[in-house]
């Protein structure tokens, strides 16, 4: 009888250790994943901003040059019309149509690409990208919190001491340096 009780107790303790071990490993890996998520978002921010700037630049240039072209062609057409040169006029009008259809292609690539809308989309993309980065950091800190709290809590800490190399990780919370914090605190918007 005593034997059975001891065996059952040992099994229970063993089961608890295995479960705790697995929980901690899952938490460690989740934390690592979230840590990498910050890198992913930093990388994403770089790429998104780079391409955004390029698109906007290209579009702005395109808009400027097209506008000039259209105005010039319009003038040609008007001139031809007043001179009665129907052939030159049709040629100029046709070129304008070509430009218009090209603009349509650009429009299809970037829906609602109007001057104001353009800025708003840019703004939305910047806000969202910055938010994603901030939330990735927050998510990382959350997983560090969960892991550290589990690791340090009673009973779990005893299991951790059995497998120090595997279970005892030291993750640092994502934070700014003291100098940086001081600088950011002093920051106000100057209008």
């Amino acid at each position: 009888m005593a034997m059975i009780i001891i065996v059952v107790l040992l099994l229970l303790i063993g089961g608890y250790i295995v479960m705790t071990y697995n929980t901690l490993i899952a938490q460690i890996e989740a934390t690592r994943n979230n840590q990498k998520q910050i890198d992913i978002q930093l990388d994403r921010r770089f790429k998104v901003f780079e391409s955004l700037i390029n698109v906007v630049k290209k579009y702005m240039d395109y808009e400027k040059t097209t506008l000039k072209d259209v105005v010039a062609l319009r003038n040609q057409a008007q001139q031809a019309k007043s001179q009665g040169d129907e052939k030159a006029r049709i040629a100029a009008e046709n070129k304008i149509s070509d430009i218009a259809s090209n603009i349509n292609v650009v429009f299809e690539q970037y829906p609602d690409l109007k001057a104001n809308q353009n800025c708003m989309q840019l703004q939305e993309e910047i806000v969202s990208t910055e938010n994603k980065l901030a939330y990735a950091k927050q998510s990382y800190n959350d997983s560090v919190e969960t892991y550290s709290a589990t690791k340090k809590s009673f009973f779990t800490a005893m299991v951790v001491s059995l497998f120090r190399t595997k279970l005892d990780m030291d993750f640092l919370y994502w934070q700014l340096t003291q100098d940086k914090i001081a600088a950011q605190e002093d920051y106000t918007v100057k209008l």
Binding site: D112, M120, E124, Y135, Q138, S139
Partner: protein, 346 residues
């Protein structure tokens, strides 16, 4: 903002809110399972008492518990529950959008800035919640302001919001609502409430079948004492259990709403956007009550979504009461919800 000025802001420990509600959920689910097995055992006892008319109930009962008699009814009920859960889970996301006019939003299909923003908000919250899969995003073409989440796992998750909500909320409020919905997914609320309601409905069905069969078989031989006692229990349960079921389900769904609200605060680390969004939704429903009543009523299968919505239309006096469950809201009232995230009426 002006509406929110009527409330005093204070800090609230969302970790504690999550913990207490987790405990409550565990309690509700445990009670459900207990009732479920007790009912199964009752049916088994009844069946066994037909086989052994002489044996007293207590003896049959202990024989069942110690597995001397095989509890066949309990196991059949369990199997039926498992199958119906499986069917519900596989059909669920289709079911949830039933009767609405909807469109899926992806980065490729986003046509306007609004849709792009909506997708971005969901993606931001997905990152904050540390989810591994991006839920599918649906926009429902409706004027009223509401949103819901569905899906039985992270992988099959979806969120749907109405155009009215997307247009009338600002970016941070929209993010707060999305955080609330993603919290439902993260806490696996859909799975839980579905499971509870399937179990509850099955219990009532079994009880009904049982009730009628007991009534009719009773006439054949009325001098059976142990069975007479059981029949009395059955009749009592027939009227008591539906009420208990409804109360438990409501308690569960309200608890989960509080948890999702706390989850939203957890993800945003700010309680103001959610409070503002909730107030806006409530006021909007109050102001356009007549119009929205028509809109809700003209949308078929609205009751499927009721529990999942961020705001229960019944609270704004919309929707007719068709059953006992409609008399109570599936959601806590706005004042309590705001108090739970730290806004107390001044």
């Amino acid at each position: 903002m002006s509406e929110l000025d009527r409330y005093a802001n204070s800090t609230v420990d969302w970790r504690k809110t999550l913990r207490t509600n987790n405990r409550r959920t565990f309690f509700v689910i445990a009670v459900f399972f207990a009732i479920y097995f007790l009912l199964g055992l009752l049916v088994d006892t009844y069946l066994a008492s037909m086989h052994y008319p002489q044996a007293p109930v207590s003896q049959i009962f202990s024989a069942l518990i110690t597995l001397h008699i095989f509890p066949i009814a309990t196991l059949v009920m369990l199997a039926v529950a498992a199958i119906s859960l499986l069917v519900t889970f596989t059909l669920h996301d289709k079911l949830m959008l039933l009767g609405t006019e909807y469109r899926e939003i992806t980065p490729e299909t986003a046509q306007t800035l609004l849709e792009k923003q909506l997708y971005n908000c969901v993606e931001e919250m997905k990152i904050a919640a540390g989810l591994h899969y991006m839920p599918r995003v649906f926009l429902i073409e409706a004027d009223y302001m509401n949103a819901f989440a569905s899906g039985y796992s992270e992988k099959s998750a979806m969120v749907a919001i109405t155009r009215g909500l997307a247009e009338k909320l600002n970016r941070s409020e929209l993010t707060a609502v999305m955080a609330h919905e993603l919290s439902h997914i993260r806490h696996m609320d859909i799975k839980l409430t579905l499971m509870a309601s399937v179990l509850a409905n099955l219990m009532l069905m079994v009880l009904d079948i049982f009730f009628y069969s007991a009534l009719f078989s009773r006439r054949s031989n009325g001098d059976d004492r142990s069975r007479n006692g059981l029949v009395a229990i059955i009749i009592l349960l027939r009227y008591l259990l539906p009420v208990i079921n409804i109360l438990l389900l409501l308690y569960l769904s309200r608890t989960r709403e509080y948890m999702a609200d706390a989850g939203s605060v957890e993800l945003l680390r700010d309680n103001q956007p959610l409070a503002q969004a909730l107030l806006k939704i409530q006021n909007d429903h109050d102001n356009n009550q007549a119009q929205y009543r028509d809109a809700y009523q003209q949308t078929p299968h609205e009751n499927v979504r009721r529990e999942a919505y961020i705001f229960d239309p019944v609270q704004a006096g919309i929707e007719p009461m068709t059953s006992l469950a409609d008399a109570f809201s599936t959601h806590p009232n706005l004042k309590d919800r705001l108090a739970a995230i730290g806004f107390k009426l001044k």
